[in-house]
Every structure is written in C-alpha cells, then in structure tokens.
Symmetry: C2
Subunit: 314 residues, 2 copies
C-alpha cells in the first residue's frame, strides 16, 4: 500500500500512514518495564498511611477496592501563590488506585469492577469541577514506565485546571465549526461511519470502539458512547458497563501484545459546552521523534485497519 495522508475527524491534525516497512502489530510489541520492587509499594493495602490523606474509598470488607487521594507531587495546587507575578498553577491533582492488587492491570479486573472505577472517575471529576476557578478536569492513565508511570501499581490521575487545555479547546472549536456547517456532531458521525468500516474493534447498543481513521500511533483506539453525551455523569449504568467491557477488551488485547505500555485520557465536555465525550488510548509502541515534535504531523507505520483486525481477532 502506498503511503497516505490522513486528517483527523475534526482537528487540523494530519498523519502520514507509512507502511513501507510492512510491520505487523506483533512486531511493534514493546513489553512494559517493571520497576525493581525495592522496598514497599505506597499504593498497596497496609501502606495507606504512606499516601497523603485519603479523599474517598470504595469499601470492600474491612478494606477497599478503589481508593482516591491527592498526588504527593502535584502538578497544580490550590494554594498556588496568586501574589506572584507569574501565573500560578492552580488546581488539584488526585490519584485513583483502581485495585488493591499490586500485580494486576485494568484488563485483569472484572467488568463490574471497571464500571465502578468509571463511576469513581465520574464522581471525582464532578467534585473537582465544582471548585471555584476550575475550567476542566483531565483524567488520564499511564501504564508502564515507558508511558510515564513512576509507580508500578495501577492508578489513574485527575488534574483540574483553571483553563480548558489546548487540545480540548481545539476539538471543541473544530466540532463547533463542523456542526454549524453540517448540522451534526462530528463524533456522532465518526462512530456511525466507523462501526461499518474496517476500523471497528467492537460495538454494542451503547458503545463503539474503533481505531481512528487518522491514528497517530500503532494500535491507537477510541471508545465512544453512541449517545451524544458530554460527561461520564450523563451515562446510565448500562452504558458505563458497556464502556467498561470495551475498555477491558481493548486493554486486554494490548496486554496480550506483551503487556504493551499505554496512556489513555478522557476528553469530556467543559461544563457548559456541547461535546461528545470519549476515551483515547495511545499505546506506547513507537517514539515520536524529531519530525513529529517539530511538525505535529505524525508518521504511523501501522494502518488503523491492520490494528483493528488485530483487536478483533479471537
């Protein structure tokens, strides 16, 4: 196949799909690095006193199944000094430990547990959003040291900021332009198109999972509710379960590829905006090098179609 230029559904973001090296998904295999477990894990049961004071937990028996507390090294803080001339880095930075089990990844957990994790995301996102001066809450996960995880025990992070981050703002604006021109939501149009394309990973009545047409990295995957909703709180129980199941399947495939390191993040609607929320999963199988950094154009050496075929494989 000849190389191809592809554009994102709405953003002015271009990808060069360059398959000259003809690699298959399993040739991108990159196994997650484990930290040498010297000493204790701060996130394991019994070491709760080693984290900053707990914000909340989902109880299970005497213990917990999910735990929320502030990040010990926050990127943003509520006491950011507003008297300084520089703009303070105002906000909150939380950690959500999704399971007490040190040796598990998300795809090892039951669907019901993952649905509960999404509920915890949702609840805490709404709490952080209510804080005065906050414009956005970014929920994201780093799995594996190569994907930026500094601790091995599985966890998600939430960062609230006084501004809507650049990429989210660009999507909101591009979606607004698209809607005014075509009269429809670009993300509604995207999943409707992708469920009958070669890029479908899986779907049910609530959720579509697919490799986006202009995937930036090998095995990129998006999970999107079919209903046009802006935030997790707008999803019903069945929809959360469907989303959890899609997450488990997709991340399970990455685990099958040698426990691939990955990042994912939620793109949600700022409170008063109109937007179609979704999860974007970016496996860490390739490096963005000088070309990508200097251009913000991405060279992807695996077609999204080949990636989806791998995700669909039994």
């Amino acid at each position: 196949m000849a190389n191809e230029l592809r554009k994102d559904y709405v953003l002015d973001r271009w990808v060069i799909v360059a398959t000259g090296r003809g690699k298959r998904p399993d040739e991108f295999r990159k196994t997650r690095e484990y930290e040498t477990k010297a000493g204790v894990c701060y996130f394991c049961p019994g070491n709760e006193s080693m984290t900053p004071p707990e914000i909340s937990r989902v109880r299970e028996g005497e213990g917990w199944s999910i735990r929320v507390f502030p990040n010990k090294f926050p990127a943003v803080t509520l006491d950011a000094d507003k008297s300084m001339s520089a703009t303070p880095a105002y906000g909150e930075h939380d950690v959500i430990v999704e399971t007490p089990q040190h040796d598990k990844g998300l795809s090892d957990l039951p669907v019901e547990h993952l649905a509960r994790v999404l509920e915890v995301y949702s609840q805490r996102i709404e709490e952080l959003s209510r804080r005065e001066g906050i414009a956005y809450v970014m929920a994201f996960k780093n799995w594996g040291r190569e994907a930026g995880a500094s601790l091995e025990h599985t966890h998600t992070q939430l960062v609230s900021t006084p501004f809507v981050p650049k990429l989210v703002k660009e999507e909101l604006e591009a979606a607004r332009v698209y809607k005014s021109e075509k009269g429809s939501c670009p993300y509604c149009d995207a999943w409707k198109k992708e469920v009958s394309s070669e890029r479908l990973i899986m779907q049910d009545e609530n959720i579509a999972a697919f490799t986006p047409y202009a995937s930036r990295v090998p095995m990129e995957a998006w999970i999107m509710p079919k209903r046009h909703v802006g935030r997790l709180k707008d999803l019903g129980g069945n929809e959360l379960s469907s989303m959890a199941a899609a997450l488990k399947t997709t991340l399970g495939k990455l685990k099958g590829l040698g426990d691939t390191p990955y990042n994912y993040y939620l793109h949600i609607s700022p409170e008063k905006d109109d937007y179609h929320m979704h999860i974007e999963i970016l496996p860490k199988m390739a490096v963005w090098a000088g070309f990508e950094l200097g251009s913000e154009v991405y060279i992807n050496t695996l077609t999204p179609e080949a990636a989806a075929e791998y995700y669909r494989r039994e």
Copy 2:
C-alpha cells in the same frame, strides 16, 4: 519554588513548571541506548552500495566527510499515487550522514565540520523546496534509540511536504498577530530578552542560545540567529560558524549528561513568508504521558533557569 504556569513566546502553548520533586539536571540523566552492532552499518564507509543511490557528498581525500541519499523507508514519495481517493503522501525524504565515523556524535566533530553540515542542510533544503508542489522542508535529527533513531550511526533527515506542518503554521500565524500588535518580531524580542536573563546558555555577535521561558522538557534549548532571517541560506559564513559552535557546546553538555538522547529540528520560513528561523533541541529525559498527550499542556519538572545554569557550567 511554587509551581508556575508559563506560556510560549507566541503560541498558545502552556507549560506547568512543577519542581516539587526538586530534581537537579544530572538526576534526569538518561543514557542513550546503543543498538547491538550485529552485522554491518549501512552508513559506514565501504557500505555505500547498501544505501539508495547517493544524491551528493562532501569529498574528503578518496572518500567523503558528509553524504546525502534518499531514505530507504520514506515517509513521503514523489510517485505518491494521485489517482487514489486518499490524499497522497507526496514529497521527498532524505538522509544526511554527517560523518563517516560510526562512534561519533555531533558534539565530537570540529566546529568547522558542523558548519559544513549546516551548509549541506541549507543546500539540500533549497533543492527540495524548488520541487513543484512542495510547501515546506523539515530538517530534524534523532539521536539515540529512545529519541526514535532506528540506526546508531549519526544522521539527520529531511522531509519535504506539500503543506506547511501544523506547528510551523501555528508559529507563523501567531508571529503575524504579535507583529501586527507590537510592531516587532516575537523571536527578535525573545532572544533580546533571554540574553540578559537567567536562561542564557551562550551568545556571540551572531547567535543566542537559551533555554526557552516555557521549556516543554528538561534541558530544552533553542539556538537562534540574532539577525531576523528566515532560512539557513540567508546566513553568512560567520553566522553559520557561530551556530555550529553553539550546537557543539549545547549538544556537548548533553553528551556530558551521560550521552542523553535528543531530538532537534529546524523551524524555517516557508519561502515567501516572514519568519525568524531557529533550532529547537528537545532532550529525551522525561516522558510525555497521558496528561501531556490529552491536553497538549506540558509538565516540566526542571526549571529552564536550572537547565541554563547547567549548560553554562564549565
């Protein structure tokens, strides 16, 4: 120091400088990985027949000191099939091997040699730009496997594209707005400010090297001609020598930090535009994780001021 939000000189690009972990530059040390040299190096003298046909060389005795040839696995090609419905990935993709010596990095080469390398960049950028349908030529370098280099032997790449890449376009537009508001070039203003700031790395009459105010990564460094010029071809011999010297010093410091992997790229003016060219060096000491990928806001855990202090150290 409290965390701080900082904005790029012109772009709507924000960085959270978060120094809570209080790491010093040498704690970010990340040594370049070497490929196991199984078999031959395609870029070494004697193996010239293993690369695609040579485009040009700088002769030295019977051999060469710098060599230019097409990339064997090009991201873009001239025969991109325009009859396809998808947009073809049209352009050329070259490799410049800057020295026949397999075990050298750029900072090991004499300043005069590096100046010659910049001349070769310049000449080939102009050649590629003259090709019909080309809007931009991106010159970039990946050093070390962690920075995306697939071959160990030092080399630079050039990719020409039928469009101006997103990041360059954003800089051009932002610079235009700045100029219409303030009457001056933002990059001229930036170097003038930075040479008397704590972020200065080095300067002479022609060139300023500094860690940018809103550095995205630890030890980020920019090298900028003081004259408002758009392309390498607009620089005189003394200016190229100064730029080569700044490159040698800056990259030499990174080599001293355990042979840090890095990327650099040139931002130049598209042919008929008004822009202030410069080189941006991004060492690979930290990982952009879920937050950065989802927001395009960057968390940098080393202040540019501490980075510059390290660069200036004898």
